[in-house]
């Protein structure tokens, strides 16, 4: 995509999404599309740490769930409006991302991944034992009855998630092209060499964990309103972590476009499978596609397309 076309296209997408909510009556499409967009945010967020920086986070579900439970707590305590929920969830998850980074970034490779998995378990235990937000049995969340401009709350949530997805992708894209992005790529390629070059590796890694955590929390913030019933088992579901890793891998981890392509493809495939075959098949689809892509297109769909274009030019 041409560099200048990004933001006009992004705004056009948001407007088109809002337009669709006014035209299409069937709520189900928005119900399904919300999940796909939510995965666009999660995959993009994961990719900032996993793809750009090379640190594999297995605890995406924890950051997502913290965002969701932050919303639950604020709804129960203050009946806070959605924008406040999103900002607060982002802030709390971002702080947890910063803390996680500070505690675990001395670890590398698989050890870092294990540490993030452990974080998810610790946080899940904490939420399970916190009665105010429902504890182990979960809690019901009532949606606001009416919302301006939209005839159903699901349509409204879809539009909100569209805005969040565009914002997340825009953030990832500008990181990629900035000095920060180059520094992160250096850390991914050779951390010691990056340090030799005067790249402030610890500071950049902390920035990456914080931004990544914030975006994951933001993705989780509207979730209680979406499901209306939230329990720790579903919020901390491993499928979020697996999807957040698989989607960028399938799409391609080197660019902002990769996670978007991966999330759209995998997310849509899962939604279609849920309706046509069974909801239990989701993770199987993820697994099969991941294996297939790792073998056939190790650099993801975006990498594969680029390679093909380059080859075509040479001929």
């Amino acid at each position: 995509m041409a560099a200048k076309a990004f933001w006009p296209v992004a705004i056009a997408l948001i407007l088109a999404a809002i337009g669709l909510t006014q035209l299409l009556a069937n709520e189900y499409y928005f119900f399904a599309a919300y999940v796909v967009l939510q995965f666009v945010v999660l995959a993009t967020a994961w990719n900032i740490l996993g793809g750009y920086t090379g640190y594999v986070n297995f605890g995406s579900a924890a950051f997502f769930a913290v965002g969701a439970y932050c919303s639950v707590a604020l709804i129960k305590a203050f009946d806070a409006p959605l924008p406040v929920l999103i900002l607060a969830a982002g802030a709390v998850s971002g702080l947890i991302g910063l803390a996680t980074g500070y505690l675990t970034l001395r670890l590398k490779g698989v050890y870092f991944a294990i540490a993030t998995l452990a974080l998810a378990i610790v946080l899940e235990t904490f939420i399970t034992n916190w009665d105010f937000v429902g504890g182990a049995s979960g809690t019901f969340v009532l949606r606001p009855k009416e919302v301006w401009l939209f005839d159903s709350y699901i349509k409204f949530l879809f539009a909100v998630m569209m805005v969040l997805a565009v914002a997340a992708v825009g953030i990832a894209r500008s990181i990629e092209r900035s000095k920060l992005g180059r520094g992160l790529a250096a850390i991914r390629d050779d951390e010691v060499a990056a340090e030799c070059m005067g790249v402030p590796t610890l500071r950049l890694k902390l920035l990456a964990t914080t931004i990544s955590g914030t975006l994951m929390g933001v993705a989780g913030a509207p979730y209680p309103y979406y499901v209306t019933y939230l329990d720790p088992l579903s919020a901390f579901n491993l499928s979020y972590a697996v999807n957040a890793i698989a989607m960028p891998m399938i799409g391609g981890t080197m660019t902002w476009l990769g996670p978007v392509v991966g999330a759209l493809l995998l997310g849509t495939a899962q939604q279609v499978a849920t309706v046509t075959i069974s909801s239990e098949l989701n993770l199987l689809i993820v697994g099969v596609m991941l294996v297939g892509f790792v073998i056939l297109a190790p650099e993801g769909i975006v990498g594969l397309v680029r390679k093909t274009i380059r080859r075509g030019r040479r001929r």
């Binding site: 520094g183 010691v192 990056a194 030799c196 005067g198 790249v199």
Partner: protein, 251 residues
Amino acid sequence: MRAWKGPILASRLIIEEVEAGYGAVRVLHGVSMTIDNGETVVLLGTNGNGKSTLIKCIMGMVRPGAGTVVLETDGVGTDLVGKTPQQVVDLGIALVPEGRRLFPALTVEENLMLGAYRPAARRHLDANLAFCYDAFPVLAERHRQLAGSMSGGEQQMLAIARALMSEPEILIVDEPSVGLAPILVSRMIAKIKELKERRSLTVLMAEQNFNQAIKIADRGYIIVHGEIAFRGLEPEALRENELVKRYYLGA
């Protein structure tokens, strides 16, 4: 080529009685060295004698257990012990690491840009980039190629150019000859001399290849088992010394 580089600073590096190691293993036992402004000093020694550890002490990547490493800029001393590598680079010391350590999945140009992470160097980014391409035309030709796909000699050129992008006063080169054919080693050493003169650098070069290294050296030290076994005031002294033959050349 110096006009844009601002005032010329006189930099000296003074290393005194440095002791360092990894865990229980002591590698350096009271090493002292001085690198004066504008000099090319070589640190000679075979594998495992502490050359790279000493360099890591200067760069802030290994913290010495005792001793001082002081950077003197225009007479003002800064203690480098306890500084992070980033702070050391900001003070004007650049390292060409052993084994090159490029960013293999990034392009030549991206590698060079990363060399310019130092804030002071970013102001002259374009001029420095032009200088590197002028000094190493092959890098200009291949600026969009992935660094990992280049030959060993080209990678070494890129590693040196990347270090120059931080606009250093002092350039530290750790074993530029590793993995290169003899003809390339000779060219690389000549190139370092050329760059040193064009950029008025102060150079510290660690090397195993004695004959090549002393071609451009003003002075040299020989390190054996973590101690300076010999300090040569001029290249001839190094060449003719009995100790050199015994310890270093194995004759």
